[in-house]
């Protein structure tokens, strides 16, 4: 069985500074994989390389065995990879419903159609309503997305990310800046909407990571120093030393 997402010798330099220094990683189908590491380790850069936001310097990225070199973000998305952003990235002036509906358009094959009306597709509108139901924003349906509360915007962000039905979902710090109750809500939501899909996420909250992930990779200074089950990673002395000891201490 080929991996859903595979990185091989991936490197990225900005000028003379090498941020990602040879990452090898294989994430299996329907696996929930978390990437953790200290600030500035290159977690977000890794995300941006995989999704085509930045060009890589060298190495290979394969999605379901297909090389992603040179593809634009929209082409990568069409291959079944969808992502959320660390800083909320929605369509602020459009209504919540429109936000979700736009996320469904390409997946439902509407392409660049200017001969059909969006209001006439039952599949499209019901699909959008269903997602709104899932992310608990039905009551907010007609509000401009920009006026939602922070937690609601994060939920919408996840809704937009999963709407297209991509089978590889990448979430960049989905619970950043949230209160405890909001975090619990988002974690339940993530567990619910990524059933049967491959999930790759960057997260700082160790409670979330150990509660959600099947496997964990630890990224320190652009290199993966350990990959394994939560138990194995927790017990790894290298990880203890480099990162987790301090991080777990901070939790308590």
């Amino acid at each position: 069985m080929s991996a859903a997402l595979e990185l091989e010798g991936l490197r990225k330099s900005f000028g003379k500074t090498e941020i990602i220094r040879g990452v090898d990683l294989s994430i299996g189908r329907a696996e929930r994989h978390a990437i953790i590491g200290p600030n500035g380790a290159g977690k977000s850069t890794l995300f941006n390389l995989i999704t085509g936001r930045f060009p890589k310097t060298s190495g290979a990225i394969r999605l379901h065995g297909k090389d992603l070199t040179g593809l634009a973000p929209f082409e990568i998305n069409r291959l079944g990879l969808s992502r959320s952003f660390q800083i909320t990235n929605i369509f602020p002036k459009m209504s919540v419903f429109e936000n979700v509906r736009c996320a469904l358009l390409w997946a439902q094959g509407h392409r660049y159609s200017f001969w059909s009306l969006v209001s006439r597709s039952r599949e499209l509108n019901e699909g959008a309503e269903e997602i709104l139901e899932q992310i608990n924003l039905t009551a907010r349906r007609d509000l401009p997305a920009g006026v939602l509360s922070y937690a609601e915007q994060r939920a919408l962000e996840i809704g937009i990310t999963i709407a297209g039905g991509a089978d590889v979902i990448m979430l960049d710090e989905p619970t950043a800046g949230m209160s405890h109750s909001e975090t619990d809500y988002i974690v339940d939501l993530i567990r619910e909407v990524t059933k049967g899909k491959t999930l790759v996420m960057v997260e700082h909250d160790m409670g979330v990571v150990f509660g959600l992930a099947d496997r964990i990779s630890v990224l320190v200074y652009g290199e993966i120093i350990a990959t394994g089950t939560p138990e194995a990673v927790r017990a790894n002395p290298k990880v203890q030393e480099a990162y987790l000891g301090a991080a777990l201490e901070a939790e308590h």
């Binding site: 998305n77 990235n89 159609s113 009306l117 969006v118 039952r122």
Partner: protein, 429 residues
């Protein structure tokens, strides 16, 4: 947040309810009866000009409001469509081709579309400043071509034609303004409806998404560049239709129809009306055409006043006139419009009087400086005044000062009333 209730009923998917059709039917009825109310030829000419400007402004707003593209050269597509139509009229006169005149704007649109497809293929690669600069450059380039490619643009005197050589439609040969009015009104309704429907298609919805957040749109599977390209082409098509109607109305096109001044005017019209709403440019076009034609009859300084109104709009009401109207939806729904009547009378009315006083002073200054030696009499607001009389000067300055002072004094009250009008009564949430 305003506390509107969001329980309003939604039309069933795909349903063409009376509520959605009503504004369109009313607009059609309105267009049909207007010539009976304003029957003289000059009024009909103004209405034709208005209709053409509406189509052009709506087409422009497909870029600016819907797609987030600021173009400084959109007159090119209207102008080229218009030039093409004059040439077609001339071919009809020569007997080379024949068709009914009402079809002509379609060819203007197709020509505009063709050019937009060409220019858009590289100008829509990037949004923002790059797009704006390319549109400026292309606008200048085509305007410069008008004196170079004389065979198409007719050099400095432009090209002119005669619209009456088309195949008569039900005996109508378009000799009279009123016949041209109904032709223009028909195209106005058709274009406006099609542009509205375009905004409801997948690519029209994605135009908004790309405007709001191009990067996010890319991560939903859409190339921002192609989304912009489709909007740009559609916009060029409708601008070309406006050009065709211009050709039919005026039977002449010159360099002026393509140059940067015309491109700037349509930006002004669209912004004045409000880019955030589909109907914004319609209001902008109506108000601007009225200002331009009626004000022009009374003062040489009309452009100064239009400019001042534009600057005031941008500074105080970035949503334009449509935004100003939309702001009142919340008080209206809450049934609190009554709260606003008194502060509007005590604040806005003096403000308007102050503004008119300032305009009067400007007119007097202009007259005192520019009129011939010894010519001191001038008409000012239906009065005969002397531009050199200290009494007249004192009066006009006093009115200005008093108007602005009263407006300023009333401003806090207006703000309080506005807040009050936007607050739901207790228990309604």
């Amino acid at each position: 947040m305003t506390s509107l209730d969001h329980t309003r009923t939604r039309p069933a998917a795909g349903g063409l309810s009376l509520a959605t059709l009503a504004p369109w039917l009313m607009a059609a009825l309105f267009l049909a009866v207007m010539p009976f109310i304003f029957a003289d030829n000059s009024a009909i000419t103004i209405m034709n000009q208005m209709a053409i400007t509406i189509i052009f402004a709506l087409a422009y707003n497909m870029l600016l409001g819907q797609g987030g593209m600021l173009s400084f050269g959109h007159a090119v597509y209207m102008g080229l469509g218009g030039f093409m139509c004059v040439h077609i009229m001339n071919w009809m006169e020569d007997g080379a081709i024949s068709m009914p005149l009402p079809l002509l704007p379609l060819f203007g649109g197709l020509f505009g579309l063709g050019f937009a497809m060409l220019i858009g293929s590289f100008s829509t690669r990037k949004a923002g400043t790059v797009f704006a600069m390319i549109s400026l450059g292309v606008g200048e380039l085509i305007a410069a071509c008008s004196v170079i490619v004389v065979v198409f643009f007719g050099g400095e005197e432009g090209v002119s034609g005669d619209r009456t050589y088309g195949i008569p439609v039900l005996g109508v040969e378009f000799l009279h303004q009123i016949e041209v009015y109904y032709l223009t009104a028909f195209w106005l309704m058709l274009s406006a409806a099609l542009m509205y429907l375009f905004s409801r298609t997948p690519v029209g919805r994605m135009a908004n998404a790309v405007r709001d957040n191009p990067e996010r749109a890319e991560f939903l599977g859409y190339s921002q560049r192609w989304v912009r390209y489709y909007s740009f082409c559609a916009s060029g098509f409708f601008a070309g239709i406006a050009g065709g109607l211009f050709a039919i109305n005026y039977e002449i096109l010159t360099e002026e129809n393509l140059n940067l001044a015309t491109s700037g005017t349509i930006l002004l019209v669209t912004f004045l009306g409000g880019v955030g709403f589909f109907f914004g440019p319609i209001i902008g076009a109506i108000v601007f055409t009225l200002l331009a034609t009626v004000l022009k009859l009374h003062t040489e300084l009309w452009q100064l006043y239009v400019g001042a109104i534009f600057v005031a709009t941008v500074m105080f009401f970035p949503g334009g006139l449509a935004g100003l109207l939309a702001m009142h939806v919340a008080p209206w729904r809450l049934g609190k419009m009554g709260v606003l009547v008194k502060p509007y009378l005590t604040t806005l009315l003096p403000g308007v009087i102050g503004g008119l006083g300032l305009a009067g002073a400007t007119e007097m200054l202009f007259h005192a400086r520019e009129a011939a030696e010894g010519d001191e009499a001038m008409g000012l607001f239906f009065m005969e005044v002397s531009s050199h009389s200290p009494v007249a000067w004192a009066a006009v300055l006093a009115v200005t000062a008093a108007g602005f002072w009263l407006a300023r004094r009333g401003a806090p009250g207006l703000k309080a009333a506005w807040d009050e009008a936007n607050t739901a009564p207790r228990g309604r949430r």
